[in-house]
């Protein structure tokens, strides 16, 4: 269960690392490029729009200048007498209308009192009185004049172009009416995309052309807040003395303002340019969604690619991590299996070592039995058994064979009880019984090595859940090492057991040569041994370590060179259970 959790979190961590490492630069680069591309593209679109609007501004200005100059030429070329001749004036109007296809609606001469003294056109405006008309008052003050669009007497939108002439005390005006539709088409031509269109508005906020778009409610007030004054160093240029918030000046030759206005959840580009000496404003409006439509589709495409890329990375990261972790899991399993095999191999090695030792001990009794048997044979050669004085000798000899046979049996019994195939099933074991059983095996060996064994076992020690053969192996290995450490010089081997904080603690202490610090760090490593070649496998302590850990316990060592070594094993006990089991 814990393993599953470990592998799951390993997969997750690997995948997250892969995702972060792959996606972070991708998103950063995409964001950076996207930002700079969008900024540059927006600027380019605005510059392009501004250029188009500027061309129209020039066209409109040229249109007005041109119409004014025709009237000017007319006024300069002919005397007032000639021009007041209505047939002459009619003739000039026809020439102008033919040349400029109906742009000029009519011509008229207005005297200083505002009365039209001559008229050519279709509207019967002879003797019309303009003294009260606003355009007349303004025209009287200027040599050349272009009026705002107004309805006037004819009740249709039009505007007037006039030239003031003076002869002696008398002043008179040559005026021409310009067809609104012809003028309007100039502005209407400025259509870009689906929503881009323009209009002209005067300083009073009145439309001078038919709006080709649905103007924003904010637009009129917005345009009202824009006024232009003739103050720039370049002739013909104007500075905006007031401009709406958020608008900025585009300074590229002629003057203009541009800005983006949000309204009703949409955004609009505005480009404002002065016309007619700053009296009018040419306003261009376009929905940003339309103006930047290509940018938007490019952005959508880029985001789609980015999103699919991210999805791909996430999928691959999890897929690859899972694959790698599965492999790691397999390798771990193989490793565990190998560790088990090493444990098993080590176990067999120690069984073999022990068997050899015990066989050695069996030698003496067996040798005696063999000799006794031989002795009996010797005696049998003489064959006077019943009455023989050797009869008693037979009895003694036979008894001896029996006794020595028992000895053999005892030793082999102990050997077999150890060498039983490992039972992985855990039982509740009384550790003290296991220790006593093991000490019996070492009886002979310790006697030959001059080692005194002292055991101090706590009879109230609770049961421990463990595999009996594994626990035996731990004690055999540790006692073997202790005896080896004390060598032929002999010493004292102490084994103590006690209950300490819900743990069965077993100390195995010897008075051997001790473990030097240089070796201490490696003693639990498999195949590490300080014994001569052929004497030890280097597996004993690592097996002990493995078994004790498997039982949920700990094994520690305390050693002083020259004084001895104490191994301490702590095993978890069944709390509250202090009954002993028969071994």
């Amino acid at each position: 269960m814990e393993d599953r959790h470990y592998y799951k979190s390993l997969t997750r961590n690997m995948a997250i690392t892969m995702i972060m490492v792959s996606i972070t630069p991708l998103v950063l680069i995409a964001g950076l490029i996207g930002y700079y591309f969008e900024t540059a593209y927006r600027e380019k679109v605005l510059a392009h729009l501004q250029e188009l609007v500027e061309k129209h501004q020039q066209n409109i200005n040229a249109f007005l200048d041109e119409k004014l100059s025709y009237i000017k030429v007319l006024a300069d070329s002919y005397s007032v007498e000639q021009l007041t001749d209505e047939a002459f004036l009619e003739n000039k109007l026809i020439i102008l209308q033919n040349a400029y296809s109906g742009i000029f609606v009519d011509l008229g001469i207005v005297d200083s009192t505002g009365v039209q003294i001559a008229y050519a056109g279709n509207l019967k405006l002879e003797k019309a009185d303009y003294s009260g008309a606003e355009w007349f008052r303004k025209a009287q003050k200027q040599d050349y004049f272009v009026s705002d669009v107004f309805l006037g007497l004819r009740k249709t939108p039009h505007f007037i172009v006039s030239v003031k002439k003076r002869r002696g005390e008398n002043e008179w005006l040559l005026r021409a009416t310009i067809d609104f539709l012809a003028f309007n088409s100039l502005v209407e031509n400025l259509r870009i995309g689906k929503t881009g269109s323009a209009l002209i508005i005067n300083s009073a906020g009145e439309y001078q052309t038919r709006p080709g778009m649905e103007p924003l409610p904010e637009m009129a007030s917005l345009l009202k807040r824009t006024s232009w004054t003739r103050a720039a160093p370049v002739e013909g240029a104007h500075a905006a003395t007031s401009q709406p918030a958020g608008f900025k000046t585009i300074s590229s030759g002629s003057l203009a303002l541009s800005g983006i206005v949000a309204s009703r959840g949409r955004e609009f580009i505005y480009i404002l340019m002065p016309l007619k000496g700053g009296e009018w404003t040419l306003a261009y409006q376009q929905d940003t969604a339309d103006a930047f439509s290509e940018l938007n589709s490019a952005r959508t495409l880029a985001l789609t690619i980015l999103f699919s890329g991210v999805l791909g990375i996430v999928f691959m990261a999890f897929f690859m991590s899972r694959k790698v972790v599965l492999r790691i899991e397999k390798v771990d399993q193989e490793k565990d299996l190998m560790n088990e095999q090493v444990l098993e191999a080590g176990k067999l090695a120690s069984v073999g070592e022990l068997a050899a030792g015990i066989a050695h001990e069996i030698n003496n009794p067996v040798a005696i039995m063999a000799e006794e048997a031989g002795w009996m044979e010797d005696l049998l050669e003489d064959m006077h058994i019943e009455e023989s004085e050797d009869f008693e000798e037979f009895r003694r000899s036979l008894k001896q064979i029996t006794v020595q046979g028992e000895r053999c049996k005892e030793i082999t019994h102990k050997l077999l009880s150890f060498a039983r195939r490992t039972d992985p099933v855990h039982h509740d074991i009384q550790v003290n019984d296991t220790i006593e059983e093991i000490l019996g095996i070492f009886d002979q060996r310790s006697k030959f090595s001059n080692i005194r064994i002292q055991s101090e076992l706590d009879p109230a020690l609770p049961l421990v859940s463990a595999s009996p053969s594994e626990l035996q192996q731990v004690f055999i290995n540790l006692i073997n090492n202790a005896i080896d450490a004390m060598g032929s010089g002999g010493g004292l081997l102490e084994i103590r057991s006690r209950l300490e904080a819900d743990q069965a603690v077993i100390d195995i202490a010897d008075t051997g040569h001790g473990i030097p610090n240089t070796v201490m760090a490696r003693i639990f490593e498999p195949f590490f041994t300080t014994k001569p070649v052929g004497k030890g496998t280097g597996l004993g302590l690592s097996i002990c370590y493995g078994i004790v850990r498997k039982l949920g316990g700990t094994i520690t060592v305390n050693s002083a060179v020259g004084l001895g070594t104490t191994f301490r094993i702590s095993l978890p006990v069944h709390t509250g259970d202090v009954t002993r089991t028969g071994s």
Binding site: G357, A359, S397
Partner: protein, 125 residues
Amino acid sequence: MNEEKAIKILLVDDEEGYVSVLAKRLIRRNFVVKTALSGSEAVRILRNETFDVAVLDLKMEDMDGLEVLKVFKAMEPRMPVIFLTGQGSETDAREGIELGACDYLVKPCNLSELIERITAARKRC
């Protein structure tokens, strides 16, 4: 064998049961046998008597067989020594040969073989 003078053997082993029965069997075959149950006892006996051959157990409680051999070699350099050793201790026995022992036998051994080795050792060493 009968024509020759009886061979005098010093038998050293800490297993009393083994020494006694082996001595009896050898005596029955006309050997003169003296037994010792420890290395120190053997050294004591050797101080007062001479022997033709010594048969020495390798592992004893008080003195190791190899140590006893060294003492024997110092006291009676010309006395052949045959080691008796348990299974698995052949390495120690070979060490004994290097230290000057004449031969070794692995316990339990056949009596006739032991007699053969004793006779041979007397001639060879």
